[in-house]
């Protein structure tokens, strides 16, 4: 095939220029190189259309917007539906239209020359709105706006990330293609919030939770709970493996550990207490600050045996009273 021959001739030249594999040496127009035989007219037509700023499918022509069956994209869409992951709703599914879907860049020209009947037969790819959580409803009153990510290429697309809502990207079902086992495992060993976002208010806030006698630590995201009660229940579930099946661990409480013991009860029963290490490195009892203040100061959590926690003061107003130190 001629592209192969071209490549080989370039290689044998020992050329120093960077060639794309078709043998054309202009790096900067890697995307604009075409197979020879493309009519210049086609190229020109397509590049004009491709660079037109439109709201809509990549390369779709203006009349497309009159077609109510097409899905249009844009963050400014009027949205009637709540967010849902990718499945297109039935009333949105567009039937085939005769619009030719112009792809990005000049590569399209190749297909143009190959298929003379493309006009009539090609069905438009109705872009499912996987990019944006709002279901999109086609309408004619669309405002022309720069549409991130789906604008025909040939434009700067580097502003995309700033203009599109970051939440949208995260919601594609089954994407990125990482096994759920891996996703779940990594989530449990996630980085500390300080590293995840620069924004302190919105990212997850992971703190390590250890328990006396447990062989390993866990991590919890404090921001995923709204109050102490939720945190307590979650810890109870996480650490119940260590309290159940340990007959006699409750010591003085005399409860039937196997069936009835819950961490909460243990906490309340004063066999274990929940403590935290604050920003100063002091260990404090959990519970006296409001939840919001607590998550701001808590660096680590520890479920201590009640007997070890004797002497640990209840958390006073910060910095105004003495704190008793607890050996970690």
């Amino acid at each position: 095939m001629s592209p192969e021959e071209k490549l080989q001739s370039n290689v044998s030249d020992g050329g120093l220029k960077e060639h794309n594999y078709l043998g054309l040496s202009d790096c900067s127009s890697v995307g604009s190189s075409n197979l020879s035989g493309l009519a210049d007219d086609d190229k020109a037509t397509i590049s004009l259309k491709a660079t037109e700023l439109t709201l809509g499918l990549p390369g779709s022509q203006s009349p497309a917007r009159d077609n109510t069956e097409l899905n249009l994209l844009g963050p400014a869409k009027l949205d009637e539906k709540p967010f849902f992951p990718l499945l297109p709703s039935k009333d949105e599914i567009s039937c085939s239209s005769s619009q030719k879907n112009l792809a990005s860049g000049n590569k399209r020209g190749f297909s143009d020359t190959m298929d003379k009947f493309s006009e009539a037969k090609v069905s438009v790819y109705a872009e499912k709105n996987w990019m944006f959580p709002e279901a999109v409803v086609a309408n004619q009153s669309v405002v022309k706006k720069e549409v991130p990510q789906n604008i025909p290429k040939g434009k700067q697309s580097t502003t995309n990330n700033s203009s599109s809502p970051p939440a949208a990207k995260a919601q594609i079902v089954g994407w990125p293609p990482v096994r759920s086992y891996r996703k779940n495992t990594l989530a449990t060993t996630c980085k500390n919030s300080d590293e995840v976002d620069g924004k302190p208010g919105s990212g997850p806030l992971f703190v390590k939770v250890s328990m006396d006698g447990a062989p390993y630590l866990r991590k919890v995201d404090l921001r995923s709970y709204n109050n102490y009660g939720e945190l307590s229940s979650a810890l109870e579930k996480m650490f119940s493996t260590f309290t159940l099946g340990q007959p006699g661990s409750s010591g003085a409480t005399g409860k039937d550990v196997r069936n009835e013991t819950r961490l909460k009860d243990l906490l309340n029963g004063k066999d274990y207490v929940l403590t935290y290490e604050d920003k100063d490195g002091d260990w404090m009892l959990v519970g006296d600050f409001s939840w919001e203040i607590f998550i701001g100061v808590c660096k680590k959590l520890k479920i201590m045996k009640g007997s070890d926690a004797i002497g640990l003061a209840a958390a006073p107003a910060p910095r105004t009273m003495e704190k008793s130190k607890m050996r970690a």
């Binding site: 580097t158 594609i172 089954g174």
Partner: protein, 575 residues
């Protein structure tokens, strides 16, 4: 050839182990067909619904090892609803009723129950090896049955399964007299482990070669285990913080130094850096290193470890290693054959940990590289073209640009040329996954050049049916094609129905395929099961009066010799 007695021919066949080759042998003549079927030891069934146990047993009455795969690959990414299928129970029941002396069972993406495991453990006296990959539906009770009843068990290998951990005592179910363990992998168990039972088991298993622990095995226990098993070849470390225990770390270091056979290291879900450095003495012998769960370890510590691993052949790592880290890999690991770089930040938050530069560095530095899985935020055509030039030996090339439809970030062009260069240069390419902004052009290149391609994964790519047609027409060896969110429809689906004789399966979700198209295909191709998966509706689509032009959300078709399966749930409609 018929001048030789059967036993001689059979002896010759014993040297032929690959499934493909044995399938070819069986086609030569009736005599060879007969000899081959009675002597086939290992049976591989890539799709458990392509055949049923009865026919399997009729064809191969004497096999010892069975490999079964259930759900389609995209099930890994939650695209296949729960309950779709892939149940192993009927297989085990049928095999148990027969006289097959099953010794090995390898399952992937199947639903396994405790009942199945119990039946398995009681039915096959010589059962030796159980390997479960990405399976679900069972608990540690099932493992207890296996441990209790399989006297000759050698391998219990649980890879990335969803196991309900009842925190029972399954490890203590191995009888005291049992000493034949070779492989024990329970890394995917979430619960607490009976450390005493584990240590005693390891201590009485002189043949133990592969041990992969779960999170709940702390540092001091690890040190003791390694001291008991210095012959270990493959170690999966659990998860541990070393806050207080430097004495355990010293013991670990001492134990590690004795493990001179160690070649393969994995785990490290949470590990403080200086426990990682305890492994430096054995790094020079490592051939496989899997740090892809070590989210806690920052790039510089990873690099320090890898700098010692000059013999590494397979490396699985997180993108926290960065481009700089990959450059270190490229200059250190000259024997590298397989590299997988996984994303740490799954939200696509713009953290450009690895870019095209890392990929190019690896391709330039590692001449033996033939398999790659690379997650990244950005790519360029120029980089891919360079990679193709550097590494024409790729067998597997899987590139996942995290943001769908993302173009070449320098030129803003589609990545058609880059992937085109890859398929054109890599003449032995068998598996390809494409991503980024792609037009029909890339599929033209794939159809033209990827003559050996057997598996292709497409997401958010292409413009028209022509793209898919290029692939179907061009890739003669295509076996598995999986497509999501791409504009391919009925025209492509129906263009060449006979293509689906040579293909194992086709998955299309969120494409342009319609119900009418699927029905027409099912009519034309009676050897196919065409499944429409519609999890939103527990009623069958036909009852709701769906029109032929209705698009189907998920279609999975596969060739089969046994017709419609009987275990399909209500949301699966088989045409």
């Amino acid at each position: 050839m018929n001048y030789f007695p059967d036993e001689v021919v059979e002896h010759v066949f014993d040297f032929v182990t690959s499934h493909k080759d044995r399938n070819s042998i069986s086609l030569v003549c009736k005599s060879w067909f007969k000899i081959e079927r009675y002597s086939r030891q290992n049976v591989f069934i890539g799709n458990c619904y392509s055949i049923n146990p009865e026919r399997l047993l009729r064809r191969f009455p004497c096999f010892k090892s069975l490999t079964l795969k259930g759900k389609p690959h995209f099930a890994d990414f939650n695209l296949v609803p729960h309950g779709w299928g892939g149940f192993v129970q009927p297989w085990i029941e049928a095999l148990a009723r027969s006289r097959v002396g099953l010794e090995e069972l390898r399952l992937k993406r199947m639903v396994v129950t405790d009942e199945s495991l119990e039946l398995l453990s009681r039915s096959f006296v010589n059962f030796k090896s159980l390997v479960l990959v990405s399976c679900e539906g069972f608990s540690t009770d099932g493992l207890a049955s296996i441990a209790s009843n399989c006297r000759h068990l050698r391998d219990l290998d649980l890879q990335e399964n969803e196991i309900d951990d009842h925190r029972g005592q399954w490890l203590s179910c191995f009888p005291e007299a049992y000493t034949s363990l070779v492989t024990l992998n329970f890394a995917c168990l979430e619960g607490e482990t009976n450390l005493v039972a584990l240590e005693r088991l390891v201590a009485r298993s002189p043949n133990l070669r592969s041990l992969k622990l779960n999170r709940a095995v702390p540092l001091d226990a690890l040190a003791r285990l390694m001291a008991c098993a210095p012959q270990i070849v493959d170690l999966g470390v659990g998860s541990y913080e070393d806050e207080q225990d430097s004495e355990s770390c010293l013991k670990l270091q001492a134990a590690i130094r004795k493990c001179t056979s160690l070649r393969s290291l994995s785990g490290f879900l949470e590990a403080a850096p200086h426990c990682l450095s305890a492994f430096h003495p054995v790094c020079h012998n490592l051939t496989y290193l899997n740090l892809s769960y070590a989210a806690e370890i920052n790039g510089s510590h990873l690099i320090r470890l890898i700098e010692h691993c000059k013999k590494l052949q397979r490396l699985w790592i997180l993108d926290s290693i960065g481009d700089k880290g990959l450059e270190v890999v490229a200059s250190t690991c000259k024997e590298l054959q397989e590299l997988r770089v996984f994303p740490t930040d799954l939200q696509g938050g713009g953290n450009t940990a690895v870019t095209e530069d890392g990929l190019v560095a690896i391709s330039a530095g590692c001449p033996k590289l033939h398999s790659i899985l690379y997650f990244c935020q950005q790519m360029t055509n120029a980089a891919l073209i360079t990679v193709a030039k550097n590494c024409p030996n790729f067998i597997r090339f899987r590139l996942c640009i995290l943001e769908p439809h993302k173009p070449d970030h320098v030129t803003s062009q589609p990545l058609d040329e880059g992937f085109g260069a890859i398929v054109q240069a890599c003449k032995n390419l068998k598996r390809l996954s494409v991503s980024g902004l792609l037009t029909d052009q890339v599929f033209l290149y794939i159809g033209m050049f990827a003559t050996q391609l057997e598996m292709l994964s497409i997401a958010f790519a292409g413009d028209t049916d022509k793209g898919m047609l290029y692939v179907l027409n061009g890739c003669k060896k295509m076996r598995k094609l999986e497509i999501r969110d791409s504009p391919f429809g009925d025209t492509a689906l129906l263009a060449d129905v006979n293509k689906y004789v040579t293909m194992r399966s086709l998955w299309m979700s969120s494409c342009e395929v319609t119900l009418g198209g699927c029905k027409r295909l099912a009519q034309k191709a009676p050897w196919l099961n065409v499944e429409i998966i519609n999890e939103n509706d527990n009623n069958r689509m036909e009852e709701n009066g769906y029109e032929g032009r209705q698009k189907v959300d998920k279609m999975y078709l596969y060739r089969t010799v046994v017709g419609t399966r009987v275990d399909a749930p209500p949301f699966v409609w088989i045409l």
